[in-house]
């Protein structure tokens, strides 16, 4: 249900259609080949809908209009004022067109009218275009955003990159830990298991903040390195508020999601297998490579998929330790959700995120086979 709602919302444009139903109705009759500007009826409908429209509803519509072309908001606002004044005095113009153009000459600018074409339907792809740094030009062609406004494509790439790295590091670090968990005598492995699970019992925020304390320039790690003489005092590493910080913190936070599936798979691999392989003449390394490792693939893929999918949608940690260039797509979703209230864009970003996950899931299924997955 929430997913369906999100998908609907990502293309939803009904709100503005309830505010300007007549204007849009008349607008659709406009023959752009013949007349440079829309016919008188469009101006009239707009005049009336602005004059008698619900103020809050109109306000929300304006926000939406600005997504399509900046300038709409101020244009409508001061036009509204003029209209309201006229209505108060009971002065209805003979030509609404002339009245509006007199109120603001932008009403004679066809590009505004063209941009309105994007809103007249109940569905719009504009949020998806925005989510990949595309927009409309004044002739309603889909083009890339101006250079300084492109943010999402590079964030998407960074998100994928960070997720791949985090998954990789989790695998590298998680494998030996899981192996120990599965093979140590019970009392040691129980203790280790507590250390693995400990992060689940502490708040995400606490852990993230702890990493800031550890990693910042005047932080613990830099302090130790300087104290050991490995770094000079002015050569302190910047490990936080950048991509490095994001990678380190996310790897630590997502590590248990790699360890647990790996552990559950390793636990059931009989110890006799490594022995059997050596008994048959394989050196320990060969035995590990040919006999043990292939049997852990279900765990590696389960953990990998889990970590990757979690990483790709992560936002609190990158937000806090990532600084400006460590922001991931999840941060943007949160930003638009809470700050700009551009829910259409949020939904579109979310839908793309979902699609990416599904693509990876599908790829994974093609390559490894989903039946191979084992969580416990």
């Amino acid at each position: 249900m929430p997913i369906g709602d999100m998908l609907l919302r990502s293309v939803d444009d009904t709100q503005i259609n309830t505010v300007f139903p007549n204007t849009f109705e008349e607008y659709k009759k406009w023959d752009k080949e013949q007349d440079q500007l829309p016919p008188e009826e469009v101006y009239k409908a707009l005049f009336q809908e602005l004059a008698y429209g619900n103020k809050i509803q109109v306000g929300r519509a304006l926000t939406r209009m600005n997504y399509s072309k900046s300038g709409w908001k101020s244009l409508i606002k001061n036009t509204s004022r003029a209209i309201k004044k006229a209505v108060k005095k009971d002065e209805f113009p003979d030509s609404y067109k002339d009245f509006l153009i007199a109120a603001n000459e932008k009403w004679a600018d066809p590009t505004f009218w063209y941009a309105m074409g994007q809103m007249v339907n109940n569905q719009t792809p504009i949020y998806y275009y925005n989510a990949i740094d595309m927009t409309y030009d004044q002739d309603q062609n889909v083009i890339r955003q101006k250079e300084n406004r492109r943010v999402y494509v590079q964030t998407w790439i960074k998100t994928l990159k960070v997720s791949v790295y985090v998954t990789f590091f989790c695998l590298i670090l998680g494998f030996p830990v899981a192996h120990l968990l599965a093979n140590l005598p019970l009392r040691y492995s129980n203790l280790l298991m507590i250390f693995v699970l400990l992060p689940f019992w502490t708040s995400l925020l606490v852990r993230t903040t702890a990493w800031i304390v550890m990693l910042q320039q005047q932080g613990v790690i830099n302090g130790i390195l300087v104290w050991l003489g490995i770094l000079s005092d002015d050569g302190r590493l910047s490990m936080v508020y950048n991509e490095t910080g994001t990678l380190i913190a996310m790897t630590q936070i997502l590590l248990p999601f790699m360890i647990l599936p790996l552990y559950s798979v390793m636990r059931v691999i009989p110890k006799s297998h490594m022995r059997a392989a050596q008994n048959l003449g394989a050196k320990p390394a060969t035995a590990f490579w040919k006999v043990y490792l292939p049997q852990t693939i279900p765990g590696m893929s389960a953990g990998g998929l889990l970590v990757f999918v979690l990483a790709i949608g992560y936002f609190i940690t990158p937000e806090l330790v990532g600084g400006k260039d460590g922001k991931l797509i999840g941060s943007w979703i949160a930003y638009h959700l809470k700050t700009t209230l551009n829910w259409g864009l949020c939904a579109a970003l979310g839908a793309i995120l979902l699609a990416v996950m599904l693509i990876f899931y599908w790829l994974y299924n093609k390559i490894v086979g989903i039946d191979n997955i084992k969580l416990g």
Binding site: P270, S272, H273, R275, A276, A277, Q278, N279, L280, G281, A282, K283, P284, T286, A287, K290, V291, P294, Q295
Partner: protein, 365 residues
């Protein structure tokens, strides 16, 4: 089998093994195995059989002593260079490899050519009659088939000797008996030395040239199946292998190979073979096999007692009679079914046994 004249192939010399540095799970093990011999280590669970096998395979190191293979000490040789095949208790087949790949594994790590590998794998599969199953995965095979694959895999690289740790433990009774013969036939055919572990005495008796009976980390007796059965040297072996009737008493006198034992409950005096006893006056446990007791006559006039028939069980080829004799109401006698047995439950009956058939042994701990 006369092993003394054959060359010793595997030699355990004064082997002790402790896992924790305190308890010895194998104590002073001395065992010589000849080339081509089928030796079984038989004993209850926890008696140290697997540990012994693992030391031979190289996965555990002896705490004291040395193991020799073909005259060479092997404690410094890692398992993967020992050239010893092994059938693990749960087969340890690699689940991600097909049957063929499992069998090819030891050949591939030895860098054998593709053609030769294929050839040997095929031969090994044919040997265990699984020629058509090469492309299956272990999970697609029945327990018995998996067992054969494990056997074939342990033999395919022509090891110097092969170890089997309760290889038939997971199979049901019929299959187990069938596999016992099959393993024995394969052993006879290719003449490989086998060290076999089981806790099933009938399995050990069926298959082995010699059996080492383990208990509590100690070899109780090492001998051929017939000697073990007929001449157990202590009460554990008498009890563990086959059925026996036990009576305890104290030694009254000794002469030559015999001793007279006064039964504890005052039920009489028994003349028995002096096997494993202390001095006059000390306690002993007597052991006689159920089929060595004759019913209904005085025999030679020695060891004649009277008992009461408690229960008759008809078993086709023989009748199993439970008697109350000398205060022991679990006294079992097996009577061959020759059609002349005509007693009923509750009847009193005379019975006797030859002094050579009853052995005076130690008291069990």
């Amino acid at each position: 089998m006369n092993t003394e004249t054959e060359k010793t192939f595997v030699k355990f010399e004064k082997i002790d093994k402790s896992y924790d540095g305190e308890v010895l799970v194998v104590k002073n093990l001395n065992l010589d195995i000849a080339k081509g011999e089928f030796v079984t280590m038989l004993g209850p669970s926890g008696s140290g059989k697997t540990t012994t096998l693992m030391m031979l395979a190289g996965f555990e190191t002896p705490t004291n002593g040395e193991i020799f293979l073909d005259g060479m000490p092997i404690s410094k040789i890692p398992p993967y260079e020992r050239e010893i095949g092994m059938v693990f208790q749960n087969y340890a087949l690699f689940p991600h490899m097909t049957v063929q790949e499992n069998l090819a594994f030891p050949l591939e790590v030895r860098k054998m050519s593709k053609d030769e590998t294929k050839d040997k794998v095929k031969k090994a599969l044919d040997m265990v009659e699984l020629g058509d199953f090469g492309t299956r995965f272990p999970a697609q095979l029945s327990g018995g088939q998996q067992q054969r694959v494990a056997l074939a895999r342990a033999l395919v690289f022509e090891p110097r000797l092969v170890l089997m740790d309760e290889p038939l433990g997971a199979l049901d009774k019929n299959l187990r008996e069938q596999m016992q013969y099959e393993i024995k036939h394969i052993h006879d055919r290719i003449g490989i030395t086998v060290v076999y572990v089981t806790h099933d005495q009938s399995e050990a008796l069926t298959m082995s040239n010699r059996i080492a009976v383990f208990n509590d980390g100690l070899v109780q007796q090492l001998s051929t199946p017939d000697i073990l059965y007929e001449k157990p040297e202590n009460s554990f072996v008498a009890q563990f292998i086959g059925e026996n009737n036990r009576m305890t008493g104290s030694i009254k006198s000794m002469e030559n190979n015999y001793c007279s034992v006064e039964l504890d409950n005052g039920a009489g005096i028994v003349k028995a073979l002096k096997v494993n006893v202390g001095d006059v006056g000390e306690k002993t446990q007597l052991s006689v096999r159920p089929e060595r007791v004759s019913l209904g006559s005085d025999g030679d006039g020695e060891n004649v007692f009277t008992g009461k028939v408690e229960e008759l069980i008809y078993l086709g080829d023989h009748i199993r009679v439970r008697l109350d004799v000398c205060g022991n109401n679990e006294f079992i006698v097996k009577v061959p079914n020759e059609g002349s047995f005509n007693y009923n439950e509750g009847d009193s009956i005379k019975l006797n046994w030859n002094p050579d058939d009853i052995r005076a042994l130690d008291l069990p701990k």
